[in-house]
Assembly symmetry: C2
Homo-oligomer: 364 residues x 2
DNA sequence: CTGAAAGCGCTAACAT
DNA sequence: ATGTTAGCGCTTTCAG
């Protein structure tokens, strides 16, 4: 069953006794064709099983109808999800018992892909995905450029100068970060999320110092979160509260977090541990358990990210959920916007996050 | 900064003082061009930032260089993963403590996407993904047909007759199931996996009957798994062992599994519960705990699927991990195969699964 | 080794 | 309302 040659507009046209222009019209602007011929053409299309050739369309119409998504090395998500209004309020979901059944939590990339996919198809675009790792990143980006009308690029998946070069050629939105030279970006509100989280922790913790596991200093996310942390602390102090804090830079790995927490526990007895990421928070949880310090009674703990383990740990971990599906949705919208108006103002969206209250910070 | 018109082969040609044919040659078959002109052309390409237009290429070369992946309503995965040889041995991984740190476990679709993506790009194809839900499925499939050289379709994401129609036009591989009319398919070895799992359970369980939560009868996967279960039981009996079994059909939901298990526990005291899916197994675990039956001492439990929760439950759940990344990889390979030879023999790959031994079935 | 030229299938003026 | 026609940018014989 060798795939036979696909029928073209010419086949449809002659079969329906019209010109190819008319065939094209019934496909693109049916209103311009009389109902009778429209029906005749449509019948021919169905009979022949005609499917328009996207390459020819793309060439003639100088648009591909495809948007690209470039991710770093691994993953991508795509699960059922309600849109998240692009306001600035921090949503609060009580998930003390870890039963908050958002089916696609944590699946960071999967959610992002899903969001882009939903948004792209509903805008009439197909979605091409690629991760800049298998092949030289530059090759992939380059290849993508010739295939799409716009590009969503995950921050850091490819060097900034390459992003800048591509951004000069086509609409490009950076997600989960920024890139010099790319006008548009969509990310979550890291600092606002951490500030809200810290505020919550400060309200829940017993008396004593706050330990902050900061993550790598070369990560923009980590820096933003830390800034939110400091803001909340400053606020509390301004309100007359005396808060002692210990800043602990780590490389962002759970191992480092574990080692650092253990070390600290030998010197101090923290009343709260806040980590810039969930794995580190979970590591801290483990270190505290080792030390016989009970969570949340003697020390509260909180993370950032919303990974699945945070929901299933014991105690379950209070954390911040990142609306990646929305990031994807908005990134594509940004693309459409710029596709419609190349000179639109640059946008740097910061989507609000959700605080997930769980056992590690005590009763909600 | 309005995106300016992209340079074409003509621009490169005139800039390098050659014909467009030569430009095309340095891109497609560099060997046919003398080194000096090749360098000259390459310099022009770099200087102009020329990127070939995929639509024009697709039209002229009558191949798009794109493969499509059609998924059902939701999700898609994509995580780091080692290739899985397509043999027929059931891999066994001891994961009693739930620390088996495969980063992409459970992420069913994500892994599939990832596999397709890896495989497609390494074969020189881009990957277009779509899920047949937002828009009418038929529209998506149709649209996809005009854009790609081959299609991977998740079983059930679109009606079989549509799949058959598309399969007549282009190489199409069905994954995670079969579809009438599509010659090629790639899925996991459900029956072999369940057979191995059951064998393991039979060896580990205390004396007493085996409960099998079968899942929905209209699911081909569920039927295959049940067949594997029966095969293992028959084997044990043939070996002279006396095994009592209780078959319990469910609708595949955890709720049904919970209710059924509770009901059964009022009448019988099983020594083992095997479920055709992880959520059901976890539900059974809960029902057993309620009834004060200790797992694995008094009753062992096993699931199928390898979801994340199975790793994090207490006790951790023995289950079968499905190599979805490999399914994706092989699906794309199948496509390539048929792209190369439209009359190749049909293939129905059954990829081997891994048994994850955990606490719910006692010490490994 | 290189150039000329004929499409690939479709869209979008421009005619009629 | 419908037909004619000129490309869109690239690949690929076919000559030279």
């Amino acid at each position: 069953m060798a795939p036979r040659k696909a029928p073209t507009v010419y086949d449809v046209a002659s079969s329906a006794g019209v010109s190819i222009a008319t065939v094209s019209r019934v496909l693109r602007s049916p209103a311009k064709v009389s109902e009778s011929t429209r029906d005749r053409v449509q019948r021919a299309i169905d009979a022949l099983g005609y499917v328009p050739n996207a390459s020819a369309r793309g060439l003639a119409g100088r648009r591909t109808g495809v948007l690209g998504l470039l991710l770093p090395g691994p993953a991508d998500p795509l699960a059922a999800h309600a849109d998240h209004a692009a306001g600035s309020e921090v949503g609060v979901i009580d998930d003390t018992d870890g039963s908050y059944a958002d089916p696609d939590r944590n699946r960071y990339f999967e959610q992002l892909v899903r969001g882009c996919e939903i948004s792209a198809w509903s805008a009439g675009y197909a979605l091409l995905i690629a991760s800049g790792q298998h092949l030289a990143r530059t090759v992939v980006l380059h290849d993508l450029e010739g295939r799409v009308d716009g590009l969503v690029v995950f921050a850091g998946s490819v060097p900034d100068d390459l992003i800048a070069r591509s951004a000069r050629r086509l609409p490009l939105a950076v997600v989960a970060g920024r890139a010099e030279g790319a006008p548009d970006s969509v990310r979550v509100d890291d600092s606002g999320g951490m500030e809200a989280l810290t505020r919550h922790v400060l309200a829940a913790k017993p008396p004593g110092p706050v330990l902050y596991l900061a993550g790598p200093a070369d990560s923009a996310d980590a820096r933003d979160r830390e800034q939110g942390f400091h803001a909340a602390i400053a606020d509390a102090r301004a309100a007359g509260r005396d808060v002692e804090r210990h800043l602990v830079p780590t490389d962002g790995t759970a191992e480092a977090a574990l080692a650092e927490t253990r070390r600290i526990l030998r010197e101090t007895r923290p009343a709260a541990v806040i980590a810039a990421d969930d794995p580190s928070a979970l590591a801290a949880l483990a270190a505290l358990e080792e030390a016989g310090i009970s969570v949340p009674d003697q020390c509260v703990v909180a993370g950032f990210g919303g990974v699945e383990e945070a929901r299933l740990s014991r105690p379950t971990l209070t954390t911040v959920r990142q609306p990646m599906t929305d990031v994807g949705i908005h990134a594509v919208r940004t693309l459409q916007r710029r596709l419609a108006d190349a000179d639109a103002d640059p946008v740097d969206l910061r989507l609000p996050v959700d605080l997930l209250l769980r056992q590690s910070c005590g009763p909600a």
